[in-house]
Symmetry: C2
Subunit: 563 residues, 2 copies
């Protein structure tokens, strides 16, 4: 009989248990041990904001698999409340500490899996150890927050960081009746994911829900009361009273064990692995939040701390520690987050990321509807695509709004995995029926806008470029081609702005200067582009339309009703 | 100055207006004429079932663009209530009849576009001209149906055909309080789209909504009352009283003009076109329901009469009649339809279609949830994938259920466009957050089930194979590895069936025969596959699990509550 393969897995949240379960199914005879510091395995930490809000009732719902499943069904050794102290690579052993008994023991391995996850980033600020200051990484963090807010005695919460967890928690706290301030040091919300004008669309919604959003502000420190509870947050712009502070500044890979064992750590700070998710020691694999991944577009190393990625890692590792040879192709940094009544989703590179990485890009900003326009209750979405100017290759997409967005981003994620161009995207045979989409989906329209730009038919300015021209007092016509009723409801206030409905355009061409600069806009850009082409056809050469038009205008408008 | 390009478009529903609008934007100087028999252009015929149901209030909502838009904004000549009688190819002329004045005229063209659509299939049956027998292709059909059902005097409706429109109209009529019978000559609903066991899942839902579903029945004729109104439908199995009959037997391409002009017609019955959507006459283009398309998987010609495809055709044609050279890559026969509270979507080849086309296939049947399982109110979906056995290449997918399905099928459609394998699918970086999906989406799980089958880890029988064995009285263990509570709620009644919960399996191996045949099942197959692997590991060699388990079992169960 073959020698029993001895697999030890450190970390029991997502990648670890998945690797263990996969290894068991691949190799029914292996000896498999999971080492986990906490009390539970297989906890759904992505659900924590919904447990704080009460959308998820019980913490038991967040434990996807119980110990007895791993023991009795999977036939594994489960060491919870056990901390791995050190890896002895030569001896193929892990030294571990039982946190209950304080006993140190040694666990032998043939193959070791590091699924040690990430550690919340802690700011180095005065007062950060005050009571009432939390991070949110474990069920116990969520319970501590619930215990503090449940008596309904506290009123105000300050969240540091407007990333995924910061915004999910803003919603959770608002739903609990608390006054919420979110402080972000950078210029816009979800700065690692979205571009400015797309983020602005979300910011309007956040503010509309009562969130006090403070951008470009640095937190300087915290002050407490006599009992050591946080009471005040000091920022670069002033002070905020508060009863609770959530630090939502992201995480960094937990690489201590790996570093101590002199495994290679990448420049991103994550454990370096090859395509088989093997570390620099071929008997040690690593996956989940603690490693760095290949970005499938740029081929650069990136961190991708998401449960979806961790689970895929787990399966690959489970296969490979059992003698298989599966590869992990990398990530696209796909993300989605519910922000109150808006759905936010993105994939690949944002425009700012793409430009930073040196790509020459073409973009579009296309408002649309989730369903056929004539099907009732369809809600708006806004699509931004980023493509390479030289060859139309898609680089990324952002889709946000009250309507369905994850579907569109999943299509983009699939297209990006195959190096699709916007031409490919424009002719995808997506599922169409009025309750689900338009005959041409906003994604198709967005791809076509980029194609029209590349052909020179469509000439556009971004809303930011238009705002700049307005702020500079440039001499141009900002031509609103909507109806007088739409103009009455909401408009861009500027001396350059002027109403000329599309239907009247051909008849009133003489009112426009042939040699002057004209920028057209409407509600969604459809009419604005049409107007541009009519004007081009009539010999007006210096005409552009504004990408996304009013629906994507990230600045103030003059309005009597919502645009 | 260059000579003005003279473009004539016959057909004003979807492809025609799209081609016209695109041509106008590409060529502001062209002369563009649209010829349409009906009163309106750009009608959303896909919305007709929702107009009959009342979900869409006004027929105006179904006219996407008005005449004055085409005239004043697009600067086109719009000839409505005008029938194209003949194409004179040599003279480059179309002979047309004004249906109002009965005057015949001649329209010259440089480029001609045929967007003549399809004609509802009419059965050659006695009594088919009785009053109260309808097809549904135009707004006037929908108005005639509304007028008949609105006074609430009629009670019963019979629909012939359980295709897309048949099922949409079943829902529409039920929502209007009518008793609905659907008669389908073939063996299951949506026979051109789904496989038997997936259709069975929909059929349960239809019957649960009160639809009287008659499969494998032929209609022999109709009988009327003294006033010529239909009162009875005679079928191969008997007679049905009715007040209204809807013929929903699909459409066939309207190729009369093309045939008369001796353009090539394909074997599918659609006008033959090349990748530029040019007919056998290079000055005549055709698109929409009247042409045949390339299926991107099989490379065979197929009909694809959908608004989504027609609009894409229109854009390609509009470009090409204006001097461009754009190609249309073909279709994947993607479709989606709302069937009461279920969402049905599919793409590519069904298993039966794939086998008929000669593919050696591997399939899976994977129940799952639309969201993270711990996020509340997530609804079930059922995923069936079909892949090539030789190389894991995806051939098609069907996703149905009360949960979200169009997203999954759009991902599959995108993957299929690039010739993806199930390995590619398994590692797609899809957007994950608890309100939108699981860390591993049902699509990922489905891809992994196929990979496990291909590796020999997973061995499965389809529900149909299991049913066959039961019906044959085969000697085997049908091992239900769910909990006693689940068994109590709903189970498969068979002498071979036996309960042995997964948690107890390792301890009770001695109750099972090592050399006997065992088929495991559970609720969704996850535990059943686990049980198979445990048994394999313990030396049981003849073990399979049932694909899809109870959630996808298309036959009767013994139940105290819904499974």
């Amino acid at each position: 009989m073959e020698r029993q393969n001895n697999i030890v897995i450190i970390g029991g949240t997502a990648c670890g248990p998945k690797a263990a379960a996969r290894a068991r199914r691949c190799d029914p005879q292996a000896r498999i041990t999971i080492v986990e510091q906490g009390e539970d395995l297989s906890t759904a930490t992505c659900g924590l904001p919904y447990y704080v809000s009460g959308v998820i009732d019980s913490q038991n719902d967040l434990v996807v698999r119980r110990h007895d499943f791993f023991r009795n069904v999977m036939n594994m050794q489960v060491l919870t409340r056990t901390k791995a102290l050190a890896i002895k690579r030569k001896a193929h052993e892990v030294e571990s500490l039982n946190l209950e008994t304080n006993r140190v023991s040694t666990i032998a391995y043939d193959k070791l899996v590091l699924a040690t996850g990430s550690i919340p980033v802690m700011p180095n600020l005065e007062g950060r150890d005050l009571r009432g200051i939390f991070t949110l990484a474990k069920i116990k963090d969520a319970n501590a927050i619930r215990n503090l807010i449940s008596p309904r005695e506290i009123k105000r919460v300050v969240i540091l960081g407007a990333g995924l967890i910061g915004l999910e928690m803003a919603e959770a706290f608002v739903s609990r009746g608390l006054g919420v301030t979110v402080i972000e040091a950078l210029d816009w919300v979800l700065p690692g994911l979205l571009d400015f004008e797309v983020a602005a669309y979300i910011e309007r919604h956040l503010r509309g829900k009562g969130v006090n959003l403070l951008l470009r502000q640095r937190v300087l420190g915290f002050e407490g009361d006599g009992n050591g509870w946080v009471r005040k947050v000091t920022t670069s712009d002033g002070e905020l009273e508060t009863n609770l502070v959530l630090l939502a500044l992201g995480g960094r890979p937990d690489t201590k064990l790996a570093q101590d064992a002199e495994l290679t750590i990448g420049s991103t700070g994550g454990i370096s692995v090859n395509q088989y998710l093997q570390t620099s020691d071929p008997d040690i694999y690593a996956g989940g939040d603690c490693i760095e991944n290949i970005n499938r577009i740029t081929k650069q190393k990136v961190l991708a701390p998401l449960g979806s990625t961790a689970n895929k890692h787990g399966r690959v590792i489970g296969t490979n520690v059992s003698g298989g040879r599966e590869t992990f192709p990398g990530v696209l940094s796909t993300a989605t987050v519910k922000v109150f009544d808006y759905n936010v989703a993105c994939v690949g590179l944002s425009e700012s990321q793409a430009r930073e990485a040196g790509y020459d890009v073409v973009t579009c900003l296309v408002p649309g509807y989730e369903y056929a326009t004539y099907y009732p209750n369809g809600k708006e979405i806004l699509v931004k695509l980023v493509a390479e100017k030289s060859d139309n290759r898609l680089l990324g997409g952002q889709v946000v709004g009250p309507g369905e967005t994850a579907k569109r981003v999943d299509v983009l994620a699939t297209a990006l995995a195959f190096g699709a161009t916007v031409n490919d995207l424009a002719n995808l045979d997506l599922a169409y029926a009025p309750p689900y989409s338009s005959a041409l989906d906003p994604l198709h329209n967005a791809a076509n806008v980029i194609r029209n730009k590349q052909l020179g038919y469509a000439k556009a300015l971004t809303p930011m470029e238009v705002k700049n021209k307005l702020d500079n007092g440039d001499d141009f016509f900002l031509l609103d081609v909507r109806s007088p009723a739409e103009w009455g409801t909401c408009r861009i206030e500027a001396t350059q702005a002027r109403l000329l409905p599309l239907r009247e355009l051909r008849a009133r061409l003489n009112e426009l200067p042939k040699d002057g600069e004209i920028v057209t806009f409407c509600q969604t850009s459809v009419r604005a582009y049409q107007a541009q082409r009519i004007l081009n056809g009539a010999g007006f050469d210096s005409v552009k339309f504004m990408d996304g038009s009013i629906a994507a205008w990230p600045y103030e408008t003059l309005e009597t009703r919502s645009c």
